[in-house]
Structures are given as structure tokens and as C-alpha cells.
Symmetry: C2
Subunit: 173 residues, 2 copies
């Protein structure tokens, strides 16, 4: 595919995101299973539903550009998801530490998407592609909200994990 | 390395960031060379200096934890930088489109760091590691500022690239 104009750059980004979102729908079920806090599990479940919507919005945006939706392996997203899988395969973590690790992995994924959708929105807007901008911007806003929710959820997990640690060091004394 | 406690998770994150920052110092010179807008070049140059400082802050944070600084290949950062290299190897882009592509790549890098330092700060704070928190938080704030500056710089590049595109389509008519 040629990459010469701003429109090409926007399409390249959407092709990357279309695959990235699909990777996320495949990764989330294991994260839901691994999460121990009920709130975190519910948060991931909600995000899985949203992600399915993000895929539909991308399909609509491709349609606006007169194209059929397509994806090409997003190596950036793959690396982030692989890192999350490695964390989930760790055996020695207490529940709250695993939840903190899951949130860390999820926030990497969210920030990848915030960077990508943020850029795509700026490009669509400059190109006067109003409907494409609207579609991508709706998703961008949801990704930003998800990141904030994860930060809130992190507080509980992280504080529990920290408390556990000070208990252990007291026992050792 | 064992990964059981919140402290282990913090150290793992710092080890990843220590390598990630070094990868960035190696990637930026080519980005500086490729950028055509003087403002963007100056922005990347400033960020290279900041990044060298981020490495020193991480070394200080490791010292606070009684450890020698170490890094382990950050696969997440590697994937993002490789994507940037691919963009820079494209031959058919006008200057403003290449600048927009460079900014897109740089914002992916910044958001990786915002996610990682944001998480690390939350963990250091919960663990009562005040000095480590301070060091990491200073860098976090700089990464957030850099991301905002990139969004501002993007506006010029993206608008120029979009204008170019409408000129071309007028010529074709």
C-alpha cells in the first residue's frame, strides 16, 4: 500500500487499529478470568463490549472512505498483549498484586489506543472528514474514560498489595 | 527475577523503562535528521536532552531501592520504535506528511512512557517510597508535557499536509 499523503497515513493507522482492536477482544477473556477483584472483572467485561463497538465504528469509518474494513497485524499491540500474557503466567503473586499487574498491562493497551485514535482524529479533522472524525472521536473518548477507570481501580488493588507487603515485612521482623 | 510483590512489579517496570529510555536516545537522532519543520527538530532535540535526564533519574531511583540500575529489552518500546523506523523509510511522502508521521510515532512512544511511569508512580506512592515517587513523577510530568507539545506541533504539519492534498485534488480536476 502506498504511503504518500495524510489520507494514506490515516488509513494506515485505521488498518493498524482494526487489527489492534481484534487482538484486544481475544486477550480480554483471559484477563477477565484472571482478575480477582469483582470491580476489575466487571470493568474488563464492560471494555470487551465497548471494544466490539469500536470495531463496528472502524468499519463504518472505512465505509465513509469508500473502503472495505481491513486489518494488518499491529506489532505494537502484539508486543503489549504478549507482555500482559507473560504477567498472567506468573505463579507467585497474591491476588491484589496480580490485579495491579493486569491493570498495568491494560493501561499500556489503553495508551497505545489513545495515541493512535488521537492522531487519527487530528488527521481526519484536518482532512475535513467530519463523520470519520466523529466516529473515531467517540472511541477516543471511551478509551480515555477506560484509562481513568483503571487508575481508580488500581488504587484499591495497589493499596491492598502494599498493605500485604508491610504485613509480610512485619512478620519477618 | 521473582515477581511476587508490588515492589517486584515496580522494579520490573523500572527495568523495562531503563531499557526503553535508552532505546529512545538511540532512535531520536534519526528522527531529528528526518524532521523537516525546524520546530519539530528543536522539540526532538530538547526531548533527547530530557531523555538523558530520565535515565539518570531512573539510576537514582534504583539507588534509593539499594540496587544498581539495570535494563532488560523492552519489547513494547522496540515494537513502537521499529514502527517509527518503517515510517521513516517511506520514500514518497512530502515533508509535512513525513513530519505528521514522525509525530504519530513519537506520540506512541510518549504514551507508552505515560502508562509505564503513571503505573510506577502509583506503586511507589502506595509503598511509601517517597523519593522514588518524586523522581518518577518528575519524568512523568515531562512526558505528559512532551505529548502536549507534539499535539501542538502536529497541528501545523497536519494542516499543511491536508492543504497539500486538496491542492493536488484540485490539480487533478
Amino acid at each position: 500500500m502506498k504511503l504518500e499523503t495524510l489520507n494514506d497515513l490515516l488509513v494506515k493507522n485505521m488498518i493498524d487499529l482494526y487489527d489492534a482492536e481484534k487482538q484486544i477482544t481475544k486477550a480480554l477473556p483471559k484477563m477477565i478470568k484472571t482478575a480477582t477483584s469483582e470491580d476489575l472483572r466487571a470493568g474488563f467485561e464492560e471494555h470487551l463490549e465497548q471494544t466490539q463497538n469500536h470495531i463496528i465504528r472502524l468499519e463504518d469509518a472505512f465505509k465513509e472512505l469508500g473502503m472495505k474494513a481491513k486489518g494488518k497485524k499491529s506489532e505494537g499491540m502484539k508486543a503489549l498483549i504478549d507482555e500482559g500474557k507473560l504477567l498472567m503466567s506468573e505463579k507467585g503473586m497474591e491476588d491484589s498484586v496480580m490485579d495491579a499487574a493486569l491493570i498495568m498491562a491494560a493501561q499500556h493497551v489503553e495508551h497505545y489506543e489513545i495515541a493512535a485514535y488521537g492522531t487519527a482524529c487530528a488527521h481526519a479533522e484536518a482532512l475535513g472528514l467530519d463523520r470519520v472524525f466523529e466516529l473515531l472521536n467517540e472511541t477516543l473518548e471511551e478509551e480515555e474514560e477506560t484509562d481513568e477507570k483503571l487508575s481508580d481501580l488500581a488504587e484499591t488493588a495497589v493499596n491492598e498489595a502494599a498493605a500485604l507487603e508491610s504485613e509480610e515485612s512485619e512478620e519477618e521482623e
